[in-house]
């Protein structure tokens, strides 16, 4: 039973990668799309073309929420900025299917009715770590998957014997060898990113997965623990006496001044409309790596400043930087695209790993390998197809349709289910080709359909310097080309590989 360390790590790598591999692929790809959460949201609300200054937009949002959702325990608002035209509002609502609402408000009127009802990029963001499961199970599953990923990365480094010698090596047309090369190159070249995003992903759910440091030092006294962890925040029970919220504009202007040039990014209002209302303004996440570096807290009823806080404690700052690195909200344009590309590389590393598991077991019989091979197609092709269906539904479903936002999400899951079913009924080699061909076609057609239905097409976007729509369409075309390339390559046996390429490869 005694075996070498590297060999046992090989076993650990292939099994830790496989068990939650399909889930990890979905998490990686939805996270990659989430890099452009703001842009996706903007694309999915083509009616809104004009923004307002952050303070005015927040005022408008507070006005609408005060009329329509005065009973909520708190409103969590993200102000519009250079990337987002709308105000994003999250608040508890017992009538909502998940117990809370996450909606975009028009920056001028404050109402959500100015645009078609859609979750926009928020859906992919939420799916990335909640997996459409009830709290806290989705988050537990996501953090377990991240831990598996971390174990797979570490054991993967251990078993890669020639990590530097094979750094630039990709040998095409050699069957399993090529898959392994692709897996290695995709994994190794962006290894710092893969490690960073996995560890920081666990850090974003730190209080959920590792609350025991708090227990060790505070016992059951969570109130003190929270107060010491976030001294910038003021929390107090609702008084039960209704007092209208003081004008929020002056508070935001005050916060802006005290932030010494940083923009106001997020605004939360606890106990709105109560005598104990509290308004907390945080600086914009785009101004520093650390998430939530500065807060200004006001008494909601009087508008008086209660607390001004800048995080300066080293360990807490380190945590906030790790958190901020994962969120990537700081990332300026070039970094944002690099996050996106590295995320795609991570998803591709997982996908090639899943394919390798099958390719390494050509003799394997039985239900397990049969199922795994089909699950590979159903997820690797099915998940992007589902995202595409979500976008299609956004364009096709009529704007006044009741339950429209939920219907878009249904389109996502029904499509994924349909591709999974299709993959079960077809031989994997054919299914790879066919699903990716459909994916390529679907991605390439979407800009055209979108142009037909909204009148905002690539040509007009380029002429009007509308980078959001132009970027979205061009990205879809690029991804369509990628999918077409995969459709051509995937499912082709090594024997079908081009002999010209093979002749060039130096024998190992």
């Amino acid at each position: 039973m005694k075996q070498g360390f590297r060999q046992s790590m090989a076993g650990l790598h292939s099994w830790s990668g496989l068990i939650l591999g399909w889930l990890l692929f979905a998490i990686a790809l939805s996270g990659t799309a989430t890099v452009f959460r703001s842009e996706i949201s903007g694309w999915m609300r083509p009616e809104i073309a004009k923004s307002a200054p952050p303070a005015e937009a927040i005022e408008a949002a507070v006005g609408w929420l005060g009329t329509h959702h005065p009973k909520a325990a708190g409103w969590y608002l993200t102000a519009p900025d250079g990337r987002t035209l709308t105000t994003q509002a999250v608040f508890d609502d017992a009538a909502a299917p998940l117990g809370y609402r996450d909606i975009a408000l028009d920056p001028v009127s404050g109402s959500p009715d100015a645009a078609r009802a859609t979750l926009g990029g928020e859906f992919l963001y939420r799916f990335h770590f909640e997996l459409q499961l009830p709290y806290p199970w989705g988050r537990f599953l996501a953090v377990a998957a991240a831990m598996m990923m971390l174990i797979a990365i570490i054991s993967g480094i251990v078993i890669h014997k020639r990590i530097f010698k094979d750094f630039f090596t990709f040998r095409a047309g050699k069957g399993k060898r090529s898959w392994l090369d692709a897996h290695n190159v995709l994994g190794v070249l962006a290894l710092p990113f893969h490690l960073m995003i996995t560890v920081t992903g666990i850090v974003t759910l730190l209080t959920l997965v590792m609350p025991w440091g708090t227990t060790a030092n505070y016992g059951d006294d969570l109130e003190t623990a929270f107060a010491e962890a976030a001294p910038g925040l003021v929390s107090r029970e609702a008084a039960g006496r209704p007092v209208p919220l003081a004008p929020i504009g002056p508070m935001l202007a005050d916060a802006q001044r005290r932030f010494e040039g940083d923009r106001v990014g997020r605004v939360s209002i606890a106990n709105p409309g109560d005598a104990h209302a509290i308004v907390t303004a945080s600086n914009h996440d785009g101004d520093q790596l650390a998430y939530s570096a500065r807060t200004a807290t006001f008494d909601g009823a009087t508008g008086r400043l209660l607390n001004l806080y800048t995080e300066a404690r080293p360990a807490r700052q380190a945590h906030d930087v790790l958190y901020g690195l994962h969120m990537g909200r700081f990332a300026p344009e070039v970094s944002r695209w690099l996050y996106f590309l590295c995320g795609l590389a991570l998803a591709a590393t997982i996908a090639t790993g899943l394919v390798l598991w099958i390719e390494s077991r050509p003799q394997a019989r039985g239900v397990g390998p049969w199922f795994a091979a089909r699950l590979n197609v159903g997820t690797v092709a099915g998940f992007p197809m589902a995202i595409l269906a979500f976008f299609y539904a956004n364009r096709i479903l009529p704007a006044p349709m009741p339950g429209r936002a939920e219907a878009e999400v249904s389109a996502f899951f029904w499509t994924w289910g349909a591709v999974l079913l299709f993959a079960m009924l077809r031989s994997p080699a054919r299914a790879w080709r066919e699903t990716f061909a459909v994916l390529a076609l679907g991605a390439a057609m979407l800009p055209i359909l979108s142009f037909a239905l909204t009148g905002r097409g690539l040509w007009t976007a380029l002429l009007g310097r509308d980078w959001l729509f132009a970027g979205f369409d061009l990205t879809l075309f690029a991804l369509a080309a990628l999918a077409a390339g995969i459709a051509r390559k995937a499912g082709s046996r090594p024997a079908a590989a081009s002999p010209r390429r093979r002749g060039r490869v130096v024998p190992a």
Partner: protein, 98 residues
């Protein structure tokens, strides 16, 4: 501790024990380490808490690597369970700060 020959006869039991050591053992180690560091680090209470949590999550992959990489199963078990006991004992001795 010489249950080795018995376990060797049953690969499934061995595999299960390794899996449990890697998962439950790894989490237990992380919890024990979080307790130890949160109480023992020479920092303010809040700072020690967050540092402890950040370091403790790394104990999970480390334990998984050890659970599968240890030359013998009892090495894996002794290493992980021993560390859990050690960290837990010191954390209990230090006690909750006032």
């Amino acid at each position: 501790m010489n249950i080795g020959p018995f376990l060797r006869a049953i690969p499934l039991v061995r595999a299960t024990v390794r899996l449990l050591l890697a998962s439950a053992g790894g989490y237990a180690l992380a919890v024990a380490l979080a307790f130890l560091l949160a109480r023992a680090l020479p920092m303010s209470r809040a700072e020690a808490t967050i540092t402890a949590s950040l370091v403790a999550i790394l104990a999970m992959p480390a334990a998984a690597i050890w659970a599968y990489g240890a030359p013998r199963l009892w090495h894996a078990a002794a290493g992980i369970l021993g560390l859990v006991a050690l960290c837990g004992a010191i954390a209990a001795l230090v006690g909750q700060p006032g």
